[in-house]
């Protein structure tokens, strides 16, 4: 395999920082400084993505409804979400009389920590990942489902009926769709034979998993998108915070930055779902490559891997906004029926179909090894 020239990759920069730290500090300090740098970088990227997403969501929502959206602060309103962040920081945090004080305080912590932990496992580009466990997909499912504990705590500790109903709906919805998300990702684990994100991406060098597994993979992709939207309480599945019936659902009683944390994690969870869909189904940060077309591959590598990743994830997020503004909200019983009576049985059968396809050699890479490499 040829080594392509990759002018905009960050791998050289990372290696330079690493060797600088190793050369100038004792091993213990080097590890500590590296850890702190990684932690700061994660938080900065986390906050930047959230700010960008809030702005993009408001702007796209405005265009869907033939409005202008934020347009006062900065050119086209680009620093609107920064101003909102400052505003939310200087708002009063109201103490609720009848709330369970400790749990009320702990709830946003759970929600934020769960989304940061999931965020840390995402591969943003070549060698751009904080965590690369060999059980990556499984780890991601495990930590992202921690968030629901925070939501249930928030609803229960608020001692408010709207919060309680919102949290219960959210809990039922999240755990139900967690199953579908788990099964549809498992379908792809069967296909790629690994749970490690870097290996899953490497396996999609010449053929995305979505095409490699053709029919079962496409079904799994659609189911993953549906359950991802449902897990993040968005789109047509936003009934935990159905504003016309429950004011704001589980975070009705939260104010100031504590509300901001719920808001932040909601946007980040949306990004995480888009990023996982990208990584597992659409080739992740791997540029589009065709086996044997060396000059084409080189041209594709001139676009850095992180740009590919954010481009694909951005497309997935646009899809989620599109869905949100195109479908009416579901009713809670219809929502749970959709999961338990349709998606879950379909998923179980789909998993077995994928196993048959893989074992009988009907994947695209097995059928056309010359075209898609092996």
């Amino acid at each position: 395999m040829l080594i392509y020239s990759q002018p905009l990759e960050l791998t050289k920069l990372l290696a330079a920082v690493d060797s600088f730290l190793q050369g100038n500090l004792t091993p213990g300090w080097a590890v500590l400084v590296k850890g702190i740098l990684v932690g700061i970088l994660i938080l900065v990227v986390y906050a930047l993505i959230a700010l960008a997403l809030i702005y993009i969501e408001r702007k796209v929502a405005a265009f869907f409804q033939a409005r202008l959206g934020p347009n006062r602060l900065g050119k086209y309103g680009v620093i609107q979400s920064l101003a909102d962040m400052i505003k939310i920081l200087i708002k009063e945090i109201i103490h609720i009389n009848k709330a369970d004080k400790l749990l009320f305080f702990v709830a946003p912590l759970f929600v934020i920590v769960a989304s940061v932990l999931a965020f840390g496992a995402l591969p943003f580009g070549m060698n751009l990942h904080a965590l690369d466990f060999n059980i990556g997909v499984f780890y991601l499912l495990a930590v992202s489902s921690l968030g629901i504990i925070g939501i249930l705590l928030a609803g229960w500790s608020s001692n408010n009926k709207y919060s309680m109903i919102g949290a219960m709906r959210s809990g039922a919805q999240f755990i139900s769709y967690e199953l579908s998300a788990g099964f549809s990702l498992m379908t792809i684990v069967v296909l790629s034979g690994s749970m490690q994100f870097s290996e899953i991406i490497e396996g999609q060098r010449y053929c995305w998993n979505l095409f490699n597994g053709h029919l079962p993979a496409i079904i799994a992709f659609v189911i993953y998108l549906i359950s991802g939207h449902a897990e993040t309480n968005r789109g047509p599945f936003d009934l935990p915070e159905a504003e016309s019936e429950l004011t704001a659902g589980y975070h009705t009683e939260y104010s100031g930055l504590q509300f901001g944390f719920f808001y932040l994690s909601e946007y980040l969870n949306m990004f995480i779902v888009a990023a996982v869909a990208t990584t597992v189904f659409l080739g992740g940060w791997m540029p589009v490559q065709i086996n044997g077309w060396e000059s084409f591959n080189q041209a594709m590598w001139y676009i850095p891997s992180w740009a590919w990743f954010f481009g694909k994830a951005g497309l997935m997020m646009f899809l989620s906004l599109w869905v949100r503004w195109s479908f009416p909200r579901l009713r809670i019983d219809l929502l749970l029926n959709l999961e338990w009576k349709y998606l879950l049985p379909i998923n179980l059968v789909n998993l077995l179909v994928m196993v048959v396809v893989v074992l009988s050699g009907f994947t695209l890479t097995d059928l056309f090894p010359a075209l898609f490499g092996k």
């Binding site: 788990g182 749970m195 029926n337 338990w340």
Partner: protein
């Protein structure tokens, strides 16, 4: 540096975000004490009773069903990674496992757990 120590880094980063954010907000945000302001936010009328009361059992039944399938997922993921090398034996053995668990879902379905019954009398 191993992956598990980076896990600690990410965990601490998340806790730091909340701690620093809340600390800053508590420092710079205004505070005024008013009993009325701390009342539950419900339609403007004084709240009737507490919210910590009995809740419909439907949600609880979904949680039990979820537990059944979530444990199944834990067992299935290791199998999914090595199913290529297990071959047809792996497929047949896991087929039995999935069929037995699907019987559980079918039982719950038959029993009407998945129906959303109205609690108000008809």
């Amino acid at each position: 540096m191993t992956d598990s120590s980076f896990f600690l880094v990410v965990l601490l980063a998340g806790i730091t975000l909340v701690a620093v954010g809340l600390g800053a907000a508590l420092l710079i945000s205004p505070r005024s004490v008013n009993f009325q302001k701390g009342e539950p936010y419900e339609c403007g009328l004084p709240t009737h009773g507490t919210s910590w009361m009995q809740f419909r059992v439907g949600y609880y039944l979904y949680a039990i069903l979820f537990l059944m399938f979530d444990v199944e997922i834990i067992f299935l993921y290791p199998w999914a990674t090595i199913v290529r090398s297990l071959g047809i034996t792996g497929l047949v053995s896991i087929l039995m496992f999935i069929v037995i668990l699907s019987l559980g879902l079918a039982y719950a379905w038959k029993k009407g757990v998945l129906e959303w019954k109205s609690t108000t009398s008809k």
